[in-house]
Symmetry: C2
Subunit: 419 residues, 2 copies
């Protein structure tokens, strides 16, 4: 690693300086600023739209197509959604200053864990411009300064968005540098951000495996990995097959491009002949390419053969691999070997089997008789999410406002000294 | 980074495999194993002593002297302390399976955060052999498999200790590989341990700045930094000066070699003439070398001059630097510029000033009218500690059993699918 990018260090230093001021803002100032920012986005819609059209044109000229282009596109309804998101975050209960725990020691010392902001949060993300306002909103709500580093394809949109948000902060007596954009979208700038140790308290990568590998290798600042979702649905012998059918179809079809979509279907061998052909036909009819192991292909010969690589893959597409397993223990063994730690689901009416599955899966979230698609900050009642942790340290699953905080320990005494 | 050490990877792989079994042990099995291990240490005292004498002889021959030799030495009373420590951990309440939080969503889904072990915990540490049993005990209590990597100077002692602990596990129906020692004390083995991503869930370095720098640079596994303690005591204008005197003397003198000892004394300018000469005389009489800024030296001319470097240093010795500051805001500004984030203390009878200090300090623990020496797992009531976090992510301050856990999210439904 050579020298750090001067501009990035300046941004991080400024964030560090301002973090203390942001932490001290009262809830009403933070919430007013969030609502002001929401209104500002709506007011700035024409300018934002022009910038977004520029980004889209450049992207098209560079050969960008399909899903990426769609994610980049900021339609009026999406911009409304961003403003609504800021208002929803403003409406969430405040968590700062909460006494998480309080206890007294025999020597009279009173100890309190009090919830405080993490400090400076940096997020490296891809094309979707709504991440810009989501991250800024959640960080302000939780009393943190944030550093945004979006993708080059969205840079014009992000610049206008961040300028708009900062003007709203200024109008609300919040330091404008509570929200900063790294406008250099090159790799060196990102790498520098990963190495601002002592300046950045938490880095969240919202991107693919290459970004995550880069952070694991390069980062000297603390990070939480928002990793892949190779999510499994296991249909147990004791499943209500109608629930199972609905859950499998919903988990695969309702939004195949996201990390909480199901990628694998595991079916207990004792009900596979009953259950699998019907659901496979429905999935195929909906355009899903199915790939099976021998057991699945015996029952549904039209399936392609799943390769070893299939079991570890997150397709993010209309593809699903299917395996016939020997009961809940077979399902657990498969999940343990192949899960990315995101979300698994079991469909069963047998509570003991459900508990066995929950305890056997190493994943952040385990659903019983519910679609994997519920792993989401809004669906969990967090109001919004800044990402979804697939690691075990600090936070697991959807990360909302509370996951952007830590605690300090206050010890109140009356002259106590240690023996 | 070249290839990983084969033996280290094998140990970590085995730990990963066994972690699931350890996580499933019931509390009574874990506690019985801890008590059996305590008895085994006492029984094995002669063998442990012989190994420790070997280590001490080798260390002396290699020129090791003073404090390091003392830390390495395992006297009968220290071994008793280790056994007592295991019994104390056995007696702690169990935290696994605890429902940390439970809530229901409007769609009927029931969500539960349930406390579970982190999985595999690795600790890299220095000469003190008691860390071996402390870490093993806390990890077993919290349902984690552990990997111990002690110092070369203690390798013979550690081997006998770990063998003894493993025999006790075997006798208690706990997988012996719940506790493993990396017997290769070379740097390549440590570096390999730092890179067992996917196998190690948490790495805790208990060592000096060189080890921490190495981990920050090399590690691809999640870690929590157990960093320096450059702890400050600020004596406010509204202090009870007698309490202040006792707290300063205790914080500096009761154990100068540990991270929660005070290294810096800040005194408000309005009471410095009253307070400082007396306490300085007592500190000097106790053998403390004082180094002051101009304000302090004006009042106590015998003090040496503190250099810029002094303000950032953790002495771990009978040295203290003293600064006269302009009230609580002056103290906060100094702490913010120089704290290592461990522990600060304020002595004041003014609650508003205490709160201002607490909110202004960026440190994990802030004491009001109490000695900095109370930052300690046992003193906090955690029973024991595996380290003291000076970072903001996951845990702050002393890390006990609970800090070695995470949570999984269970979602209980009845066929819910997402719109």
């Amino acid at each position: 690693m050579t020298e750090l990018d001067h501009d990035v260090v300046a941004i991080a230093t400024r964030a560090r300086e301002v973090a203390q001021e942001v932490a001290r803002l009262d809830a009403s100032t933070r919430n007013t600023a969030l609502r002001t920012a929401a209104a500002a986005l709506t007011e700035a819609a024409p300018a934002i739209s022009i910038a977004n059209q520029d980004d889209l044109e450049q992207a098209r000229a560079a050969g960008v197509r399909g899903a990426l282009l769609d994610r980049l596109s900021l339609t009026p309804s999406r911009l409304d959604g961003m403003a609504d998101g800021l208002r929803a975050v403003a409406a969430l209960p405040d968590v700062l200053g909460e006494v998480v725990e309080e206890w007294r020691r025999p020597n009279g010392l009173l100890l309190r864990r009090v919830r405080v902001p993490l400090g400076v949060i940096a997020v490296i993300y891809e094309a979707r411009p709504n991440v810009t306002s989501d991250v800024a909103g959640l960080c302000l709500k939780s009393g943190n300064a944030c550093i945004l580093r979006g993708s080059s394809v969205a840079i014009r949109t992000n610049k206008v968005l961040v300028d708009t948000l900062r003007e709203a902060l200024q109008a609300s007596d919040v330091p404008v540098d509570a929200v900063q954009l790294v406008s250099d979208t090159g790799r060196a700038a990102a790498a520098s951000l990963m190495r601002c140790r002592g300046l950045v308290d938490l880095l969240i990568p919202r991107g693919g495996p290459a970004l995550i590998a880069d952070i694991v290798e390069t980062s000297t600042v603390p990070y939480v990995i928002d990793g892949d979702g190779n999510c499994h649905v296991y249909v147990d012998a004791a499943a209500d097959q109608d629930k199972a059918r609905r859950i499998v179809l919903n988990a695969k079809l309702s939004k195949p491009s996201v990390c909480n979509a199901a990628e694998k279907l595991l079916v207990d061998e004792s009900i596979a002949a009953d259950f699998l052909p019907g659901v496979a036909a429905e999935l195929s009819a909906a355009g899903v390419e199915l790939r099976g192991d021998d057991g699945a292909r015996e029952l549904v010969p039209a399936m392609a053969t799943a390769t070893d690589a299939d079991w570890d893959r997150e397709y993010l597409d209309l593809v699903m691999s299917v395996r016939v397993v020997a009961g809940v223990d077979g399902a657990i063994a498969h999940v343990r070997a192949h899960s990315s730690g995101h979300t698994e689901a079991i469909v069963t009416e047998d509570r003991a089997t459900a508990t066995r599955f929950i305890e056997g899966c190493p994943s952040a979230v385990v659903m019983v008789n519910a679609s994997t698609r519920f792993t989401d900050g809004a669906e969990f009642g967090y109001g919004a999410e800044i990402g979804n942790s697939t690691q075990r340290l600090h936070a697991r699953g959807p990360m909302g406002v509370r996951e952007l905080t830590t605690y300090r320990i206050e010890v109140w005494g009356d002259g106590q000294v240690r023996e």
